[in-house]
């Protein structure tokens, strides 16, 4: 973040925080206009994935979680995963889909992907409330290790913002990036211990798993929310390094190519 380009755009961005709020608000206003269940859609996606995961991994593959119900342990990972998935799905296309704004008005274009991360974060809050309710209804409530959550969330948000900045900028030049998101997310979900615990992964594959920053994140979420244990230091470190690389590359690439957006989009 010592890059002066990134620093300058950070300062400029802060003065445009109203716009980020306005974009989040607009997305919400538009998204649930003319819909039946409205904001409940934010809950539906993680719950549906949970149902499918429960059927396949618990019911068919016979995956077992230690000390807690499969559903609660999986939801603890699915809620943060869904945040990443939603942010990438909405965010990578966000600059291109706001073509009219980009070609007609001058403003820091970062607000467009950041607004979509904001929208996904609101969804995250809604689905987190469902998790908390379930934790008290079917489980033993939240352990004290829940205090780790702000740190874990900060790491995840940093990772997500970096990826969304990189993807949304690259997508302006080549639409392949937006098109690649759904299959990539599907692959990434299967290769991350979200619908199954890390303990179910054979040890010879473990090293590969640990290179994935989301592995450390979802495992940490599961530990602090369900098992009541602190995160694994090394895994958390991998996630933090991944997040730092992501935000550096993403912010730099976006700032370095932003000036060409209006010409190419």
């Amino acid at each position: 973040m010592a890059d002066p380009l990134a620093k300058r755009s950070m300062r400029r961005l802060f003065s445009y925080r109203h716009l980020i709020f306005a974009l989040v608000q607009r997305e919400y206003q538009l998204r649930y206009r003319q819909s039946f269940v409205g904001v409940l859609w934010a809950v539906f996606l993680p719950l549906a994935t949970l149902g499918a995961g429960s059927l396949v991994f618990k019911g068919i593959a016979g995956v077992r979680t230690e000390g807690s119900s499969y559903e609660l342990a999986t939801l603890a990972a699915l809620v943060p995963w869904t945040f990443l998935a939603t942010a990438l799905s909405l965010g990578v296309g966000s600059v291109v889909s706001q073509r009219t704004l980009v070609t007609k008005l001058a403003f820091p274009r970062q607000v467009l992907p950041l607004g979509m991360v904001g929208v996904s974060f609101l969804d995250l809050i809604v689905s987190a409330m469902i998790f908390v309710a379930l934790a008290y209804l079917v489980g033993d409530g939240l352990p004290a290790t829940v205090a780790w959550v702000p740190l874990l969330l900060s790491i995840e948000i940093t990772l997500v913002v970096g990826l969304v900045l990189l993807g949304s900028a690259a997508n302006v030049f080549a639409r392949d990036f937006r098109l690649a998101i759904p299959p990539l997310l599907q692959l990434w979900l299967l290769l991350t211990p979200v619908l199954y615990p890390l303990t179910a992964v054979p040890s010879r594959l473990r090293a590969w798993y640990l290179a994935n920053p989301m592995t450390g994140l979802v495992d940490s979420f599961r530990r602090v929310l369900v098992a009541g244990r602190a995160p694994d230091r090394n895994m958390l470190l991998v996630a933090a390094v991944g997040a730092a690389v992501s935000i550096t590359v993403g912010a730099w690439y976006f700032a370095a190519t932003e000036k060409r957006f209006a010409d190419v989009i």
Binding site: L5, S15, Y16, H18, L19, F21, A22, L23, R26, Q29, L30, R33, T100, L101, V102, T103, K104, L105, A106, F107, A170, F173, A174, R175, D176, W252, Y253, A256, T257, K259, R260, A262, D263, V264
Partner: protein, 408 residues
């Protein structure tokens, strides 16, 4: 103090669309390195929309960019607005800029007028609270109070344009860029906008205006920058630059430009456009020339064909480039010759200020029926007339007032 400095500006765009190119994806500083290493490859398939353009604008100045389509006017405006960046050269701007590049600025069709105003304000860096204070003023000016909570997709084009102008101008810009947008919307609102812009200019703020309408350019701005093929062809007071530009347009006539013009001199046409009427009496041709006293007046001869009516009123009217009626001269009832004939009208002194005007001829019988009416497809370009021209910016007409000194 300069509000805007544009120095040696070049802007290249790629030709063709629809293919992703690696070249464009390279981030700085890789792109500059590649450009230096392989300049040929870098510039292949691009053209320069602007080339070596230098313009500086003082704070408080009002200036127009003129030029035919594709000359680079809008590109220059977008660069000044910061929407896009130069390929080489420099643009520096001092002051808060608002750009009206498109009538609907960046409005979202699904959002209501009010929500759109908040969003546009936020894009320009204004908080919700700051916008709330301006809301009444905006909807008042745009004259759409009752539609404030209706989605924009249900607005008429005029309503949307009014809201766009009202919102951007409520954001206290110090530099206002307006691209051909005042052409949309009704004449009343257009006048209101012009009135607002007069006040804006009087406060010593900077205005840059792009228009094909030379009379609007003349009345709204003091200085004109004429762009041709991305280069500055002329820069100076409007009354110096516009005649040169108009002459150049005239020479381009044969190259198929939509707007054809002819300098004062002689103009003979046997037919025109927008022709309508019930018939029975037809204008077969029109002959316009300068009065014997150069620059003082015009003489218009109208030749009509054999007619079934005994008498008729003839009329010569003038329409400006935006289609606005400027004025007319109509005769009293005149006797018509059975086998056709011609009538003549001298307009002296010619009251229209320098500009481009299209003559319209009409013949109307006593029963009020328009027998024939058409507009000449050539314009007359008034470069100067006999008036002093001191008050040249005040409307299109200079009355032939008879002034005298009461104390003499």
């Amino acid at each position: 103090m300069d509000a805007i400095v544009v120095r040696d500006l070049t802007k290249a765009y790629r030709l063709g669309v629809g293919r992703a190119r690696v070249r464009e994806m390279l981030p700085w500083p890789i792109d500059t390195a590649v450009r230096r290493a392989a300049p040929r490859w870098w510039t292949r398939g691009t053209f320069n929309a602007l080339e070596d353009v230098s313009v500086s604008v003082r704070a408080g100045e009002s200036l127009s960019f003129i030029g035919h389509n594709g000359a680079g006017k809008t590109t220059l405006l977008r660069l000044i607005a910061g929407i896009t960046s130069p390929t080489s050269g420099r643009v520096s701007v001092r002051g808060r800029v608002a750009a009206l590049i498109d009538v609907l600025v960046g409005f979202h069709p699904e959002l209501t007028g009010r929500e759109n105003v908040y969003l546009l304000g936020a894009i320009q860096g204004f908080s919700r609270r700051e916008m709330r204070r301006r809301l009444d003023r905006i909807f008042d000016f745009a004259e759409i109070d009752e539609a404030a909570d209706t989605p924009l997709k249900r607005y008429s084009a005029g309503m949307g344009a009014r809201l766009g102008f009202a919102t951007l101008t409520a954001l206290d810009p110090e530099i206002l860029l307006i691209d051909e947008v005042l052409a949309v919307g009704d004449a009343t609102f257009q006048r209101k906008c012009m009135g607002w812009l007069d006040g804006y200019k009087a406060e010593g703020r900077t205005l840059i205006f792009v228009s094909h309408n030379l009379s609007m350019v003349r009345s709204m701005t003091e200085r004109a920058v004429w762009l041709e093929h991305g280069r500055v062809k002329g820069d100076g007071p409007v009354n110096d630059v516009i005649p040169d530009y108009a002459r150049a347009m005239e020479q381009r006539r044969d190259a198929g430009t939509p707007l054809t013009m002819q300098s004062m001199g002689k103009l003979v046409r046997a037919s025109g456009v927008d022709r309508w009427g019930v018939g029975g009496t037809r204008v077969s041709h029109v002959h316009i020339e300068e009065a014997t006293n150069p620059y003082q007046g015009l003489v218009i001869s109208i030749t009509y064909e054999a007619s079934d009516a005994d008498e008729a009123v003839f009329c010569v009217a003038f329409v400006d480039e935006s289609g606005r009626d400027v004025g007319s001269a109509s005769s009293s009832l005149m006797r018509l010759r059975g086998n056709g004939g011609s009538v003549r009208c001298a307009i002296e002194p010619f009251p229209l200020r320098p500009g481009v005007y299209f003559p319209v001829v009409a013949v109307v019988t006593a029963d009020g029926r328009v027998r024939d009416r058409w507009r000449l497809d050539r314009a007359i370009v008034i470069e100067r007339n006999g008036n002093s021209g001191v008050m040249r910016d005040f409307g299109p007409v200079e009355f032939a007032g008879l002034w005298s000194d009461d104390n003499a």
